[in-house]
Amino acid sequence: MLQNVSAPSFPPALFRDFAAAPSAAGEVAQARPGVGNGRRSDAAGGGAIVLREVCKTFPARGSDAAVEALADISLDIPSGEIYGVIGRSGAGKSTLIRTINGLERPTSGEVIVDGVTVNRLDEAALRAERRKIGMIFQHFNLLSSRSAFDNVALPLELAGLSRAAIRTRVDRLLDLVGLADKRDRYPVELSGGQKQRVGIARALATDPKVLLSDEATSALDPETTRSILALLARVNAELGVTIVLITHEMAVIKEICHRVGVIEAGRIIEEGPVAEVFAHPRTTTARSFIGSLPGREIPASLAGRLTDDPAGARQSVLRLTLTGETASQPLVTRLARELGIDIALLGGQIDSIGTLPFALLYVGVPTAAWASGAVGAALDAAGATTEVIGHVL
């Protein structure tokens, strides 16, 4: 069915036949050896995004004061990366992603996509540039009057391709997103996941270097979300498309992003590789987003019984964050054996971020052993990050 995301891989060559002169693509790849931090998508070339001190202020309207949607945002997204922007509603993430394809013009600053300063282009040049930047949406934004095939064909019609060229290309795109059998269906007859697949096919129609995802999975159930994210990851890996996505769900970031930026009140308040931000969040906002993942909260059965005062307590509750190598070690049993203590497993999550093993554990250790410092020293030595959550009488 539609979830066959691991099914046949698609050779990038499939996508090199579009209007964008193939020779030019070759030149770019040659002219820029080693650019892009050695990511595998270098061969595809282009797609790097740079934002320099971007500000966007919406002027005052009537009794409403002016709104500073973006305040001095600088980003450097190399070609072939999946960059996630996470923030609450109103934080400015929609405005941010819209500056990249010029749907919003920044009040000041520069937006450079694939070497082109987008915010300085006139309307005609901007339209041409937008064909190199695909976009998908939370509510899919498919034309109800067009079949799946005709929806994917739309950007190609706009670009003035011949009927025959459109036909072969759209059929391949529908095949790529696993919807070949739905080509003549109208949006009303498709499920949410299928609609987003049509949206992705449409966004890829003009062979873009960059794909913008505006909360593309927020209207989908968890299982469909995973299959759509898997498709995006595949598009990134096999076609080398740079992806910028905005979301309010940490699960989305964890699933496919290489790097993440946390946005609040129009500023990027924290940024880094996803595993790094997960393991050592520096801001409360980042912590609360990470905390919203399943298995991240303090178990409910425990939360009510915790006290801050260790006096007279029997058990101390610790939160251990383990990443990479540390997460794969037999840490708990070794600790129990070496210190001769019993360790209770109270809750947590063992997982991976990208390919990196990651664990977050709530454990209970005897308060006496914790107070002596022995447990803390052993955990530090093993490379775990330890926080005391409280004590249980």
Binding site: R130, N141, L143, S144, S145, L158, E189
Partner: protein
């Protein structure tokens, strides 16, 4: 019994009047649609921050449309007689009557088109802009096809309202069913003629309405069909 009441002469009057009505309404609906469609699309897309932003023009056109629509049709017919003479060469007769009918239909259709176009999800406009579409491409490929069911119903509605307006153009010798009903049915006191006129009008309205609804359903891709 009916054939006793209605002489062949009256029957042929009814047939002629029906043809006159159809002629006036068809041409006026055509002209009204041709003028009202672009006007309505412009009204729907020229507000602040929209595709063809032109706030002042939008406001002025809106005022003109409202003024035309608030003028009672019978007054409009008389008031524009000089204009009618300019356009049709005469101010009397069926062809001349097409001028005020079209003039009244245009703003009516424009407002209906405006409402239908405004119903189109703004997300679709944003998506097309993101694809690099020009404003005219958005109108042609997105707004009109997506608003089509509403447009068809709107034109249907205006044809029905044209049928009712056409009854008033007897005032300038426009002929048609309404005129026949007034002159024979009312002034000459022939209720059977009045009845026939009403029956024919009911049949016409019913036919137009059913046809419009069927067509609107056919072009509406938001409905599931099996």
């Amino acid at each position: 019994m009916f054939s006793d009441l209605i002489s062949p002469a009256i029957l042929s009057l009814i047939v002629d009047s029906t043809l006159e009505t159809l002629y006036m309404v068809a041409i006026a609906a055509l002209i009204g649609t041709l003028a009202g469609l672009p006007l309505g699309i412009f009204l729907a897309t020229s507000g602040k921050g929209e595709l063809f932003e032109a706030v002042t023009v939008n406001r002025v056109l809106g005022l003109v449309v409202n003024a035309t629509r608030s003028t009672p049709f019978i007054i409009l017919v008389v008031a524009i007689i000089p204009f009618t003479r300019l356009v049709a060469g005469t101010s009397i007769g069926t062809t001349a009557a097409i001028v005020p009918l079209s003039l009244a239909a245009t703003p009516f259709i424009a407002r209906i088109v405006e409402a239908a176009v405004r119903e189109v999800d703004q997300g679709l406009v944003e998506a097309s802009l993101a694809m690099g579409a020009t404003p005219l491409q958005i109108v042609r490929k997105v707004l009109i096809p997506e608003a089509l069911p509403g447009l068809v119903l709107g034109v249907t509605l205006s044809v029905v309202s044209l049928l009712s307006n056409s009854a008033m153009v007897g005032a300038v010798g426009g002929g048609g069913l309404g005129d026949l009903g007034i002159r024979y049915g009312y002034q000459r006191f022939m209720p059977e003629v009045m009845l026939m006129v009403v029956v024919v009008l009911i049949v016409l309205v019913q036919t137009v309405q059913s046809f419009g609804e069927t067509l609107a359903k056919k072009v509406n891709r938001r409905l599931r069909r099996h």
